[in-house]
């Protein structure tokens, strides 16, 4: 087995072995494809929702703003934008800055209060 596939397989095993420390979260990817200067409205295209296994590393609340850090396999979601949403246990979160992204692992900040949050 090639090393890339081997690392990916080991990561998948690691996530399975984390059991309830890893949980299923739903990514709702939204892509802005164009902007209509007549109406002043962006053209938005929503991709199908995608379930991935992720680990919540940290949850904080400062000045009423809830944040969390999410760790997941980069291959599960290689492209992220500030228009994306994440649903965790029925609560919507907005995608914040990418804290760390390498070939295999991504650490992402989330901010509470997505479009329907």
């Amino acid at each position: 087995m090639a090393y890339a596939a081997l690392i990916d397989a080991k990561l998948s095993t690691a996530y399975r072995q984390l059991k309830d420390l890893a949980q299923t979260v739903v990514f709702v990817r939204t892509e802005v494809t164009d902007f209509d200067f007549s109406s002043g409205q962006p053209a938005i295209e929503a991709a199908p929702e995608r379930e991935i296994l992720a680990v919540i590393l940290e949850e904080t609340k400062k000045k009423g703003v809830k944040k969390m850090q999410l760790l997941f396999k980069t291959v599960d979601l290689p492209i992220l934008s500030g228009f994306d949403q994440v649903k965790i246990k029925g609560e919507s979160w907005s995608v914040g800055p990418v804290v760390h992204q390498r070939k295999y692992i991504t650490l992402l900040d989330l901010v509470s209060g997505g479009a329907d949050g």
């Binding site: 902007f35 209509d36 200067f37």
Partner: protein, 134 residues
């Protein structure tokens, strides 16, 4: 609408015209730039930052970041600035209930784009006055 919305609508209308679209320069407002904007595009910010001549008016700056491939050299951003001048420099627009008048434009020093070093970024700026109905 209010003076801020009307001024923005007037300015955006310039980029909705077929004449501007025929220039073939991809145009995006700030904060709504797509994931892969390409090797050449402009990014528009309308900043109504000054008081106008009356309470229905507002003045400000239209800031346009011109992104172009660095390999094309310093000429291409200036060609795009010239294209913008055709529609903005000392021109007026009347789409809303008021009227927007542009002053004279200027450009800044070309910089390397921090996100994509293959691109240059040159600031084109032009002051505007929006005159609302009083």
């Amino acid at each position: 609408m209010g003076r801020y919305t009307d001024a923005q609508q007037d300015i955006f209308s310039v980029f909705a015209t077929n004449e501007w679209k025929s220039e073939g320069i991809a145009t995006h407002p700030s904060l709504i730039v797509p994931d892969n904007p390409g090797q050449e595009y402009i990014r528009i910010s309308v900043i109504p930052s000054s008081t106008g001549i009356n309470t229905k008016s507002v003045a400000g700056m239209l800031l346009i970041d011109i992104f172009a491939a660095r390999v094309q050299g310093p000429r291409r951003p200036m060609e795009i600035a010239d294209a913008l001048d055709k529609y903005l420099n000392a021109k007026s627009v009347q789409l809303s209930s008021g009227m927007t008048q542009f002053m004279s434009s200027s450009t800044g020093k070309p910089l390397e784009d921090r996100e994509d070093p293959a691109l240059s970024m040159t600031l084109y700026s032009i002051a505007f006055n929006y005159f609302g109905e009083n």
